[in-house]
Symmetry: C2
Subunit: 289 residues, 2 copies
């Protein structure tokens, strides 16, 4: 059955350079080409890997932004996906009219499938970017239904769950994780734990691609990983400070089929929507955020 | 300030025996008394620790059930809390009229504060118990706002989040965790990861008290733990197969105060309620649970 087919998923963790759009494009193209040579069907690249992350001013942000379609990096990724018959999910700085977004584009053999715009902005991103205004879209591909979250989005279990409800079989996470205070030795990074928990309670695959390096004083933590529907890593976590290519053969049919855990429980259907509705959606009764 | 005060939280992991109500009561009283001797302000006991877990028939379930108030174990716990000036959160088999619930009672120096009834039933529990019908209540105590979840409830990020929104500073989790397939060596139990993720993304404390032992062929996995608002364990995980008492000094004011992560982000307020509402609450558009 089609639902049983596997795909080869790769996360290409690297170090984008702030402001070096041409260089970042070349690096990303080289990495995706290498992944395709190794059989990748789907390649995930980091958040804002076209521009770099630590923006210092609105004018710098405007100068680095690209449009969809038309942006040179976007078009290069689309051409590469078409040529190599693969899908790519990659973070970039998007300009739409005069608004900027922290976005990810999804491209495939047929061209641009669309963009996801980060819904939960982290820290000074709020100075430059608008909050996402395209909800949590599902991108339909021949191998399955694909959702996208970016970095801090992963701190919101609502975001993962909405994608599960909307049908996601795999969630791709371009990210630029930064160190979290209190991280102890001997336990996975909290960012990794959030991916594992989300995959487990939604029975979908998570492919998170982080960056590495120090940019304008901001360190990033690498540790890209691919988690299967049980919540356990099948590739990674990758290096904390070196570029790395991690890959896994993923069966998206299994992810969906295995939501039934026993005769009584199906993890997504077991939700008590009769209890969640109003408190989650609207300003709730005792509002103590 | 009052918000800065610490409390001493203890989870008393033990092995209840199915059907041995008097014996379980005696064991629980001995453990809570020992915890109180050691300075506990709040003691959490496992799920269904008054009755045992692996019920075989509805008639057995009825025979083991207790009412609130009036049930002998409930009254014994309430008397103990009053005598020792502590709070206890403990799982028991509740009968209300002719309905049965997998419940936890919260008792304090002033008597019974109320019960929480498990909202998400696991596996054959559905044969004997009704699903909870009291939403996700907050119990107000002198040391802070306390929420309760039971075992499989923890697989629903919605449940944790609703408690955060309603004001919980600490979530007590009486549980009977069973092994999950695929658990690898070298990583915490998935049940532990879910507590850690939930504490982190809601900035509250989680005190989860599991049982141990093999009951009618069903193994349980211990590993009770107390997680602070950063998401990292401050006590436990306890033994996988032996009774254990784990304790931590917890500052609930910190848990609440530290929801502000930087100038822009407050983890609970950052929720995009404009996007979550309808899809989470009601039968959603593309409904692919």
């Amino acid at each position: 059955m089609a639902g049983e087919s596997t795909i080869h998923v790769t996360c290409a963790q690297f170090e984008p350079r702030i402001g070096e759009i041409e260089g970042n494009r070349e690096t990303s193209i080289a990495l995706v080409s290498e992944a395709a040579d190794n059989g990748a069907d789907l390649v995930v690249l980091p958040e804002l890997c076209q521009s770099g992350y630590v923006i210092e001013s609105r004018s710098e942000a405007y100068a680095l932004a690209e449009t969809v379609p038309g942006g040179p990096t976007i078009e290069a990724w689309a051409a590469l996906a078409q040529e190599r018959k693969i899908h790519i999910v990659a973070g970039f700085l998007e300009r739409d009219d005069d608004r900027l977004y922290n976005s990810a584009v999804v491209v495939g053999p047929g061209g641009i499938l669309g963009t996801y715009r980060k819904n939960h902005l982290w820290d000074e991103e709020a100075l430059f970017f608008e909050r996402g205004n395209r909800n949590f879209p599902i991108f339909h591909t021949p191998f399955g239904r694909l959702g996208v979250l970016i970095c801090y989005d992963g701190w919101f279990p609502e975001a993962w769950r909405l994608l599960a409800i909307a049908g996601a079989d795999i969630v791709c996470v371009p990210t630029n994780w930064v160190p979290m205070p209190g991280q102890p030795d001997g336990l996975p990074a909290m960012a990794n734990l959030l991916c594992m928990s989300a995959a487990h309670v939604n029975s979908f695959v998570v492919a998170a691609c982080d960056r590495v390096g120090l940019e304008r004083g901001q360190p990033f933590i690498g540790q890209s990983l691919i988690v299967d529907h049980t919540g356990w890593p099948v590739a990674g976590p990758a290096s904390v400070d070196e570029p790395a290519m991690i890959s896994a053969e993923i069966n998206l049919g299994e992810a969906r089929r295995k939501r039934n855990w026993n005769d009584f429980n199906q993890i997504v259907r077991d939700r008590r929507t009769d209890l969640y509705g109003e408190m989650l959606g609207h300003a709730a009764t005792p509002d103590w955020h």
